[in-house]
Structures are given as structure tokens and as C-alpha cells.
Amino acid sequence: MRHEIRFSGYGGQGIILSSVILGRAAALYDNKYAVQTQVYGPEARGGASMGQVVIDDEPILFPEVTDPDIYVIMSRQGFEKYGIRAREDAFMLIDADLVRSRPACRYCEIPATSEAKNTLGREIVANIVMIGALVATTGVVSRDAIERAVLDSVPKGTEGLNQRAMKRGFELGERACNQ
């Protein structure tokens, strides 16, 4: 089954990296097919950033995302620019600390940034918390695959921190789903 996953937030949060990690998990460790694309523009730190992934069990022919069924939204501007038109049967993960608006589709609130800052001590791993929550809530790739993809995508010396962030994301995702 084809899934189209869109990540959006602001430049500097690791939005693009999140999409690359997810694509990598699917394509290299889950024996699926994946195409990752991103918006290229003059956006730098602070601007709206967007990366997206198509995941399928079959080879992916048309490579672009046209109507995502899964969203990960980590900024207000990202919601307004890339999330607000989500179709009704889509599913959205929202960083509840950063985004006030709520979509018309099903959604889960994940306090990724505050968890990263307060529980894990490094705000920079908020994107990895979100990835953990994404996998726990959607199962779009396996936990084993995402763990391997995270570990080979993050800087050396930060593996432990990122693993903790991902596990925290799994827990937050499980809890959000049970609500």
C-alpha cells in the first residue's frame, strides 16, 4: 500500500533529515520502496521547511507526493503552509507546544519539543521524538528499521541521546493512540 508522508516545521528542526531517515528505514531496512523529496527554496533557519516520503511495498513509479495520508507538523507556519489542507481521512501528528491550530482530520498531539528539552535535555532531538511517535502511531515502518536508520544518520557520539529520544517518541505515540 502506498503511503505519502509529509513533514513540515521550521528550518533548523531537522525536518528534512526526518524525511530522509524515514525513507532510509523503509528502503534499506524494511525491504520496501521509498522516494524522499523536499522543497528546495531560499528557506534557512526559521523559514518553513518541508520534506516528504512515499513508501510502498511495490516499486514507486510516480515519485511525487500529491495528497499525503500522514502528516508530521512541527511549526505554526508549517501547519498553515503544508498541513491545513489535509484531507479528512488523513492522520496528523502535531507538536502540541508549537502549533495551536488543529486540522479537520484525525490527529495526535505530541509534546515533542518540550519532552526533548525537559526530559532529554536537548531540544535538538525533538524531530527524533516525533519520528518515534510517528512509527508508534502509524507503523509505516518497523521499529527495528527506524532505529537502524536513526543510528546511521545521526552524528557519532549522539547515538544514545537519539535512541532515548526515539524510545520516548514510541511511548508518547502509544499513549496518544490510547487516548
Partner: protein, 366 residues
């Protein structure tokens, strides 16, 4: 052992170049091709090669031509505005029969246009962009894997025919990430050497002279002026000029079948899509979603020299539909060769044709 990676198209192009033995890159980074230069800058010195960040694209192609004449496999990568600046020396490379690879990750033009958006607007420029008559080879990848494979192939063709060879990618294929398998080693065909007793620009039956790069022991004069088989300028003899230019064109055009590289789907179809590069992925999706032997697809991996005989693979064709990310550049070429209607489906602005758009376009011809 081959290795499997999740990689960006532009990086795969650089990896293909390195695997093919490219040891010189002269370039001026430009969106959306920059990652090719970045990867080459990082990797080439460690591979014993040379990377030079040139002052502009005129310098880039000049440096590549010079490097090729030392015997190195040499490449540059650019996009529209830089490609336009390279045109004069691309003609020089054609005239001097310099094997080299020019990658164009196409973006929206004319002029600076849309730096970060995809297009296929340079498909005629890569064939006819420099002045005078000559012929070139152009390949069009439609996946990250083909960014690797066709880069390797471009080097082999450039060497085989001693001609500037183009990898005509686009922003979509250049920037997307997909799984790719990188083999341990790739097939490499270097230019045939210049044999003892042969003049430097004296060609045999295949019209391609043997290559003796600088330093290989032969004293060779290389000039963009019309030259005789010794390489000496001979700019007023009509016959010398005609003989040379006819050979430069014929060495590529007479090898159309050898160079041809295409895929045929549903050869009995009446309605036939002809594509190259990114839009081929949309047609593949349409055929996958609507299995119907009445919808055919000719996908060109090599666009120039144009393989007109590939159109004969569809004897029952009643119409050729041509989705291109330009105003119909290659559809004009198809039109030249067939009696059936040829319908351009242009898409401008940077997005790929969607399957829904192609289905709408098909309705009129069902």
C-alpha cells in the same frame, strides 16, 4: 561486494562518475546541480583526482576540455544559465573531438528562471546550442539508479565516439532520494588509441580517430579552426571543411543504433506515449493503474542521436502523446519521423505531470 544505499540523484551521479574513473571536475556550483560539485570536491582529492572550483562556466568547460586532453576522464555539472555559458566551448569540444561529460540538472528557464524547480527546457540546446553543424549524445535518467548508471554510460560513449556527451537530468531526479545499488566495478571503455602511422584526425570506417592525449608521445595540434587530418588549420578549402563537418556529424548519427537505449511497453498499442526523464515515471504509473494494451510507452534513455527507428516498434500507433516539461521540444523531432498526429503535453512551472493530467489528455484520443 556491491553496496545498497538510500541516496540523492545528484550524489549518485557523482558516485557514477567516480566509479567510471572520472578524475577531473571543473565546475561552478549552481542550483539544482550543486550536490554533484560538492560530492566531487569531497571525494576527488581522496581518489587521486583534481577538483577545481572555476570562476564561471566558460572556465569550467574549458578546464574540462584541457583535462580530457591530458587523458583524464573529465566532467562538469551545471544547470540552465551555466549551460548557456558553456555553449561556445561545447562546440570547441565537438570540433576538437574531446571526450567529456557535461551534466545538466535542468531547471526552469529562460534566463535565471526557476532555480529550484524542474524542467526539460534544454533538450534542443544540448543538441544544437553551439554554432555550426555537429552532433552530440544526450542521455536522460529517470531514477537515482539511472543517475549512476547513465553517468557511467556517458563516459563510455564520450570516449567511444570522442564527443561531448550530456547527462540531461532535471531537478526532480537530481534531488530525490531512492534506493540505489552501487556495483563494485563498472564496465569502462576508453578511447581507441591513435595507431602508429595514422594522422591525429584520420579516422577509419567508424569515422572516430584514435586518441593520443598530450603526454602520450605524439605531437598533436588541437584547434577549433577547420583542420586537416594532421590537425593543422585549413580554413579556406571548402572540401576540407565539408569533409570534417560531415564526419563529425556522421560519426554519431551513423551509430544511432549502437547508441540507442530505450524501453518499449505494449508495442501493439494505438495510443503511444513517448517520454524521457522524469515524466516517464508518470506514464509508468498510468499504465500500472490502468493495465490496457491500447496504451503504449516508448521511454528514451538516450534522446540524442534521436532513434527514429524506435517509433517503428509501434506499428499500430494512431497517435503519439508527448508529456515533456517544456513546450514540446522533442515532440517536434518525433513529428519529423511519423505520419500520425504527435500531441505535445507540455508542463511548465516545475511540477511533474500528474497521472490525472495524463488521463485527461488521453480522453480526447480514446
Amino acid at each position: 561486494m556491491s553496496r545498497t544505499e538510500f541516496m540523492q540523484g545528484n550524489v549518485a551521479c557523482a558516485e557514477g562518475a567516480l566509479a567510471a574513473g572520472c578524475r577531473f571536475f571543473g565546475g561552478y556550483p549552481i542550483t539544482p546541480s550543486t550536490e554533484i560539485a560538492e560530492t566531487m570536491a569531497r571525494r576527488l582529492p581522496k581518489a587521486g583526482g583534481v577538483f577545481i572550483s572555476m570562476e564561471d562556466e566558460l572556465g569550467s568547460i574549458a578546464a574540462v576540455i584541457g583535462a580530457a586532453w591530458t587523458g583524464a576522464r573529465a566532467m562538469t555539472a551545471t544547470s540552465g544559465p551555466g549551460f548557456s555559458l558553456m555553449m561556445e566551448n561545447i562546440g570547441y569540444a565537438a570540433m576538437t573531438e574531446t571526450p567529456c561529460v557535461i551534466v545538466n540538472v535542468q531547471r526552469g528557464g529562460p534566463s535565471t528562471g526557476q532555480p529550484t524547480r524542474a524542467a526539460q527546457g534544454d533538450m534542443l540546446q544540448c543538441r544544437f546550442g553551439s554554432h555550426g553543424d555537429y552532433s552530440t549524445i544526450a542521455l536522460a535518467p529517470n531514477s537515482v539508479q539511472e543517475m549512476f548508471d547513465l553517468t557511467v554510460k556517458a563516459f563510455n560513449l564520450a570516449d567511444r565516439f570522442r564527443v561531448p556527451t550530456f547527462l540531461m537530468a532535471d531537478e526532480i531526479i537530481g534531488h530525490m532520494r531512492e534506493r540505489i545499488t552501487i556495483p563494485d566495478r563498472v564496465e569502462i571503455t576508453r578511447p581507441a588509441p591513435l595507431l602508429e602511422g595514422k594522422l591525429p584526425f584520420e579516422a577509419g570506417d567508424d569515422r572516430v580517430p584514435g586518441f593520443a592525449p598530450f603526454g602520450s608521445g605524439r605531437a598533436i595540434h588541437v584547434t577549433g579552426l577547420t583542420h586537416d587530418e594532421r590537425g593543422y588549420p585549413d580554413t579556406t578549402d571548402p572540401e576540407a571543411h565539408e569533409r570534417l563537418v560531415r564526419r563529425l556529424v556522421a560519426k554519431v548519427e551513423s551509430a544511432r543504433r549502437e547508441i540507442a537505449d530505450y524501453e518499449v511497453v505494449n508495442p501493439d498499442a494505438g495510443m503511444v506515449f513517448v517520454t524521457y526523464g522524469a515524466p516517464s515515471r508518470t506514464v509508468q504509473q498510468v499504465i500500472h493503474d490502468h493495465p490496457d494494451e491500447e496504451i503504449g510507452h516508448l521511454r528514451l534513455r538516450a534522446v540524442w542521436p534521436f532513434p527514429e527507428f524506435a517509433l517503428d516498434e509501434f506499428p499500430d500507433a494512431t497517435v503519439f502523446l508527448m508529456p515533456e516539461m517544456n513546450m514540446g521540444q522533442i515532440s517536434r523531432e518525433v513529428e519529423r519521423h511519423v505520419g500520425q498526429p504527435v500531441v505535445p503535453i507540455p508542463k511548465l512551472g516545475g511540477d511533474l505531470h500528474t497521472p490525472a493530467e495524463l488521463l485527461r489528455a488521453m480522453e480526447a484520443y480514446r
